[in-house]
């Protein structure tokens, strides 16, 4: 959200600076494109079509939409208090759990009428969003607010502590192995087939839920009074306070919004993956964090862009390299970005990035 301020071009910067900037930015883009390009060439050489890669990318984009929702939560919070909310991935997991619990209560099952299904899912999503939003605010009150004067690393450590607590809540709730859930939207059903590239129900659903939420969020932050307060606090908390903004409320609001997006992502993930597991939040959280960093942490558009890119990388790694290596590949990218372009694709240079 500090994107507007950050867009300030490196005015009158020396030529070498802008050259370095360009090298690091396009270098990153090049590194990101290397894997798909390599696969495209080998595919063309061996099978003569790009269908496999196209399918990977479709799945990648829809998966990436879910990561984007989670990444927005990281980036919102980082933008305002410069904290990596390590427990965010687990809030997303709780969102899935809440939604799954509600399905049982509502009696949602495979093959039921569309009207009831849509209504049920909508209510489940709203409740999951609310629960996750409130949970996130509560985490901030308990684990981060008392530590605002402590050394910077203190809240990061409590965030990790909270992450473990939430994971164990998940273990107690649904046990320690993945559970498969009813495939309510028939997510594997092929909706469209464009020259061999298939688009499934799940892909459409993921994008259909994510896109409106992202648009709502960005317009809330850029138009509304509270959104303006959020941007002001992100830029300079002290000045914002002097202008009469209640900083604590604004921070709580940020956590609420982040948590709500995570809750929505939880429901979409449930429909998309048709399984639920206490550990899903840890992995998805770290991947989404990578997405936020890739886009430029603190930058909303960056988070969405990063989410979509990381979704594609994850799918390609899953299908071409082997699912057991996916986290290693994603983290490899994370390290590369952190080291060579810590400000990401769209972000500004932060203090951390030095």
């Amino acid at each position: 959200m500090s994107a507007d301020a950050a867009k300030a071009t490196p005015a009158q910067g020396r030529l070498s600076d802008s050259a370095r900037e360009a090298v690091s930015k396009y270098g990153l883009i090049g590194v990101l494109l290397a894997l798909p390009l390599y696969l495209a060439i080998t595919d063309l050489a061996s099978t003569g079509t790009l269908t496999d890669l196209g399918n990977n990318l479709v799945l990648g984009l829809s998966n990436g939409a879910i990561f984007a929702l989670i990444a927005l939560g990281y980036t919102l919070v980082y933008g305002i208090i410069e904290l990596i909310n390590f427990a965010h991935g687990d809030v997303f997991m709780i969102g899935s759990f809440v939604a799954f619990g509600l399905w049982g209560n509502f009696g949602l099952q495979e093959g039921m009428g569309a009207a009831g299904l849509v209504l049920g899912l909508l209510v489940a999503m709203l409740v999951a969003m609310l629960v996750c939003g409130v949970l996130n605010v509560m985490i901030e009150r308990v684990a981060y607010k008392p530590l605002r004067n402590a050394p910077r690393l203190a809240p990061l450590i409590t965030a990790i502590g909270f992450s473990f607590i939430l994971q164990n809540v998940g273990v107690l709730w649904l046990g320690s192995s993945p559970i498969s859930v009813p495939d309510l939207v028939n997510q594997g059903n092929v909706l469209l087939n464009i020259g061999g590239v298939t688009i499934h129900n799940g892909d459409v659903l993921a994008v259909a839920v994510t896109a409106p939420l992202v648009i709502l969020l960005t317009s809330f932050i850029s138009r509304s009074r509270l959104g303006k307060a959020m941007r002001a606090t992100a830029q300079d908390p002290d000045a914002a306070r002097l202008m009469g903004i209640n900083v604590n409320t604004t921070i709580s609001l940020t956590f609420l919004l982040g948590g709500m997006l995570a809750g929505a992502a939880g429901l979409v993930n449930l429909l998309y993956q048709t399984s639920v597991w206490y550990f899903q939040g840890f992995t998805a959280g770290l991947i989404a964090f990578t997405a936020a960093v890739m886009g430029g942490i603190g930058n909303l558009k960056g988070a969405v862009l990063g989410g979509l890119i990381i979704g594609c990388i994850q799918q390609i790694a899953d299908n071409r390299i082997g699912a057991e290596w996916t986290t290693a590949v994603v983290f490899g990218y994370l390290v590369l970005i952190m080291v060579f372009r810590p400000q990401g694709l769209l972000g500004e240079v932060t203090r951390e990035a030095g």
Binding site: P151, I157, T158, F162, I165, N168, E324, F331, L334, M338
Partner: protein
């Protein structure tokens, strides 16, 4: 003031250490040679070594390392590679033996004496520490945490999937979840008592010697020029640099030293448990070690020792043996062991919020933390 009193006053740490170590040394004599309490103490000792290593990186130099488990893994795999029959057909199936024990000398594979393995582990893990530290040099604060976490996860992935990777001659890198086993027992020249099937006491004394050495190194380092440089970097990197502290060298040495301790401990644990299995190297373990030093007090050597022993016993004794059935007796359908990481997370949270300086705080750190305590709640946002 008498001479003795003066001596005690001047050498408080030395006296405390001597008394504690002597008291600890006679401890196993009160238990059965195969007592599980002794076993717990041995594990605790290994964790003390590990926690003291992490304390150098996080406590002294202020570099939050969330991938410390990687060094445990490197240390353990050093034993796995160089003191087992993993490379079973080297040297025409006769094996390579360097000062190996009587039994190990008859086995195929590479078998080095444990002391050599430990030296090797120090070198390998120290280099690994520097290599992992290198990319983080330009970064600060939470970005370091994330990069080290990423490295920890990548190395865990290599450990788990290492059975798919062939190194020279078709040998696997690791055995993944199958574990490299059996690993040679410790074999000291002229002492044949290391057999965990009969007597655990020699292991206990061995780990006690390790703890004593590591404590000595820790105190000497902390009070050395390097130690002061670490603390200066932790307090204020820019100020330290402008006073002439070489940042790159100082930080890399912190990573290397901290890692080396993790490697020593990993090598010991690998040999003691006689197997090296990939699932020991999960992210949770990094946090487990981090919780020890937070509980005890970041940067405080005695605090870290206390924290490591406490958490180790919570993990190996109190949760599984004493309180495990508590939820069931309350009518809840689970064992407490399911929740051990949640309990550690809760402890970290509690300590960090209520007593951030830890149980036995370091004086400087305690001052640093209480400085801001009087500040009015209404101006509580940290300005970047």
């Amino acid at each position: 003031m008498s001479g003795v009193e003066q001596f005690v006053k001047d050498h408080r740490n030395l006296v405390t250490a001597t008394v504690c170590l002597i008291a600890a040394a006679v401890l196993p004599l009160f238990f059965d040679p195969l007592s599980s309490i002794t076993d717990n103490f041995i594990t605790a000792g290994a964790y003390v070594v590990m926690a003291l290593g992490l304390n150098i990186v996080v406590g002294f130099a202020g570099l939050l390392d969330l991938g410390y488990v990687a060094f445990y893994a490197f240390g353990a795999y050093t034993v796995g590679w160089f003191a087992s029959d993993h490379f079973s057909s080297v040297n025409g199936e006769k094996g390579i033996h360097v000062l190996a024990g009587e039994f190990a000398s008859s086995l195929p594979g590479i078998h080095l004496n444990f002391l050599l393995v430990m030296l090797l582990a120090v070198v390998i893990v120290g280099i690994a520490g520097m290599l992992i530290g290198l990319p983080t040099l330009r970064l600060r604060g939470d970005y370091i945490a994330i990069v080290t976490l990423a490295f920890g996860e990548i190395i865990y992935r290599f450990a788990v999937n290492g059975d798919e990777i062939s190194v020279v001659d078709g040998y696997k890198l690791t055995n993944g979840r199958q574990a490299i086993a059996p690993v040679d027992a410790i074999d000291l020249p002229g002492f044949a008592g290391f057999d965990s099937a009969f007597n655990l006491r020699p292991y206990f004394w061995f780990v006690l010697v390790l703890v004593a050495l590591v404590l000595l190194v820790n105190f000497r380092l902390r009070d050395s020029r390097l130690g002061r440089a670490w603390i200066a970097v932790r307090e204020d990197e820019v100020a330290a640099a402008s006073m002439g502290v070489p940042l790159v060298k100082t930080k890399l040495l912190a990573y290397a030293t901290g890692a080396a301790f993790g490697g020593i401990s990993g090598a010991f644990l690998g040999s003691y448990q006689a197997s090296v299995q990939a699932d020991q190297f999960k992210f949770g373990f990094s946090i487990f070690v981090l919780a020890m030093i937070i509980l005890g007090g970041l940067g405080s050597i005695w605090g870290v020792v206390l924290g490591a022993i406490l958490l180790s016993f919570i993990n190996t004794y109190f949760i599984p043996e004493v309180f495990n059935s508590v939820p069931r007796s309350l009518g809840l359908d689970f064992d407490l062991t399911v929740l051990n990481f949640g309990i550690f997370g809760f402890l970290i949270l509690l300590v960090m919020v209520l007593r951030p300086q830890g149980l036995l705080p370091e004086r400087r750190r305690a001052m640093e933390l209480t400085e801001g305590a009087g500040v009015d709640d209404s101006i509580d946002v940290k300005v970047p």
